[in-house]
Amino acid sequence: MLKVSKLSVVIDNTVIVDDISFTVSTGETLAITGPSGIGKTTLLHAICGIVRTTHGTVNIDNVDISSLPTHKRGIGLVSQTGDLFPTMTVSQNIEFGLRISRIPKADRTARVNELLQLVGLTHLAHRNVAELSGGEARRIALARALAPRPRVLLLDEPLAGLDQTTHDVLISDLARVLKQTATTAVLVTHDLSEADFLAETTFALPHK
């Protein structure tokens, strides 16, 4: 369970996130909606520790992780752009978090194959990431984030900027993957229909 309590972020004397609280039950998805520039991405970055919080706490399964650095929080992030590592192949990207956790090679390979299968891209295992289409890159970013089995997955507009056909296919796949892996997830989107389709609960970020 993820519990965010009275979270605020102030950067250069500007309040970006103001006193936000919510809870996401284990295995469920919460959608956070709101117009552009309201601080949705900053909120996600504060939850995973990329941005320092000014006030408030972040708890996972009743343990306060607010003071931990990003790499020790066990929170995965899929960003708007995917951010695949350009010097690595598709497999190496998915394997990255497993290597960092020193998982044995055989287990890593099995997990990478499992995730490639999950996102339907086994044939691209050895492809250079620069050769992927927009939709393929998003799927690989999702597989990479899921590989180390994060306790919470943050999805920052994971379907933004895709053409309609790719968007429609990917939204069904994303719903299937989240359900199949029983991942606790927070989805940020400005698209209300996307929020309804993917999340059990929706939280509209209040206007500042």
């Binding site: 992030l77 951010d83 990255f96």
Partner: protein, 506 residues
């Protein structure tokens, strides 16, 4: 959001380049100034007619060199930034390559053609070097001047000359002034070129600092001259910074503009580029020619002597000189590149690492010989000391070569790596380092080229067992005798080939 740095748990790593620069640069230069600078020696130097003459020559030859370089470099920059024609890429490569060539090699090339020393050969050698500075600094800016603005001026009745002065010049003037400042400083502190082409009558402040400190043992006068040199450089910086303040017109730049390719447009740029290439490349080819031809006869004796023989004019064998130079270049790169990498990927203070650019090699040389002269720091005669100092001198330029690649790494990749469990160090090793690999190779090539060509500071430190290629070339070309001179040209030609080889692979 503050840029992620490796700083959090690795503060000692950040300290390494700072300590290195402090020990081998800041301390010796400060030591020289504090121990040997005397106002009385400074006023004595100013009232000494001979030294005043040296200062005056340094100044006027640097001004004329700068003007001549701009007169040749700016038209070539216009041609290569505005037009494309068969061979234009190669032409750009030829004109920019001399920047990394050793000063003594360029000087040897000019000597190979003129067979005489003096002002004209000195100016020519300075031009060969510095045309590349104009192309590198002004070229990118000129290629971005919006063509539509020029067309608008033409439709409003402006002649090409008026369009240039009213529309183009205001947009490129900062870059031209920056280039002119750098060229002036390079020429004002010229040492390698003067050592070969100055003869007995032409000396710059830089070469006089060497003579006073090393040959005459007069460190106080040498320090006074170093301060005078630094003051003149400071004044030039001050004047040029004031006159190159950005104005609103400088903002009218855009993306790189399409190059003109129509045959009718090509003739003038082709002629201008060809002329620049003749001026820049002919001395380099002349070193090769002079190394192969004696009295109009083809002879490989100089090449044989540098690879398998010995030369009476050198106290060590040419093979040992070549090996020493290569070992120094590799060692300097092994020290310099990791330190530069630490600087660009951590929060190490950047301004500190620009300092070696503002202080001349001879000033550093004085500091080194007086600071590292007594036990337990009597390192000035140690073989390892020279490549360490080469690393100090290369550091600011290698940092500048790595910086764009390091800042181009998207912040989001570091975030992605952190959310996958990678610590800042793991992110640096597994994500940033692989992305920096091509830039690291280029930086290694640049560091090696700088070490291979370093002449100023090495002159203060070199002993018979640690003679480098530029020192050997200067010694050979300074002695009489056809065979000795030809061997000097052969070593210079070898350096042209090695430097071009190192840089083209990097």
């Amino acid at each position: 959001m503050a840029r992620h740095r490796l700083v959090s748990k690795t503060k000692t790593l950040v300290l390494a380049p700072v300590v290195f620069l402090s020990v081998f640069f800041v301390v010796p230069v400060a030591n020289a100034l504090l121990r040997f600078f005397r106002f009385s020696a400074f006023s004595d130097a100013l009232s000494n007619q001979s030294l005043r003459g040296v200062a005056w020559f340094s100044l006027w030859q640097a001004i004329i060199s700068t003007l001549v370089t701009l007169a040749i470099g700016l038209p070539a920059t216009w041609a290569l930034s505005r037009f494309t024609f068969p061979g234009s890429r190669l032409a750009r490569g030829i004109l920019t390559a001399p920047f990394v060539l050793p000063a003594v090699v360029v000087a040897a090339g000019v000597l190979a053609i003129t067979d005489s020393r003096g002002v004209i050969p000195i100016l020519w050698a300075h031009v060969v070097f510095n045309v590349s500075v104009v192309l590198r600094i002004v070229g990118p800016r000129w290629s971005m001047v919006n063509l539509r603005l020029e067309n608008a001026a033409a439709t409003l009745g402006a002649r090409p000359s008026r369009t240039f002065t009213l529309v183009v010049w205001p947009q490129i003037s900062d870059a031209v002034i920056s280039a002119a400042t750098l060229i002036f400083i390079y020429c004002f502190t010229s040492f390698g070129v003067i050592a070969i082409l100055g003869g007995v009558s032409r000396r710059t402040l830089e070469s006089e600092i060497f003579t006073q400190a090393v040959r005459l043992g007069n460190t106080t006068t040498a320090t006074a001259l170093a301060v005078l040199q630094a003051m003149i450089i400071g004044v030039v910086f001050f004047i040029t910074r004031r006159s190159s303040r950005p104005n609103s017109t400088s903002l009218h730049v855009s993306a790189p503009q399409a190059l003109r390719t129509k045959p009718s447009h090509r003739t003038t740029p082709l002629i201008i580029t060809a002329a620049a290439i003749v001026i820049v490349a002919s001395p380099l080819l002349a070193t090769i020619y002079r190394s192969l031809v004696v009295n109009s006869q083809l002879s490989l004796s100089a090449w044989r002597s540098i690879f398998s023989g010995s030369l009476p004019a050198l106290s060590v064998s040419p093979q040992s000189v070549i090996t020493t130079s290569l070992m120094f270049a590799i060692t300097a790169a092994c020290i310099c590149v990791p330190l530069a990498l630490l600087v660009v990927t951590t929060s190490a203070p950047r301004a500190l690492f620009s300092l070696p650019l503002a202080i001349s090699a001879a000033t550093l040389g004085i500091g080194l010989i007086i600071t590292f002269n007594t036990s337990p720091y009597a390192w000035r005669s140690e073989r390892w000391f020279i490549p360490v100092i080469h690393a100090v001198i290369a550091l600011p330029l290698v940092i500048r070569a790595l910086e764009p690649a390091a800042s181009a790494i998207p912040h989001s990749l570091r975030n992605a790596s952190a959310t996958l469990g990678a610590s800042p160090f793991a992110t640096w090793r597994r994500v940033e380092l692989p992305l920096l690999k091509p830039a690291l190779l280029r930086a290694t090539g640049l560091s090696m080229a700088i070490s291979l060509g370093e002449f100023g500071a090495t002159s203060f430190l070199s002993r018979s067992g640690s003679t480098t290629l530029p020192i050997a070339i200067a010694q050979l070309l300074g002695r009489p005798g056809v065979a000795t001179q030809q061997a000097g040209f052969a070593l210079a030609a070898l350096m042209v080939l090695v430097t071009v080889g190192v840089m083209s692979r990097a």
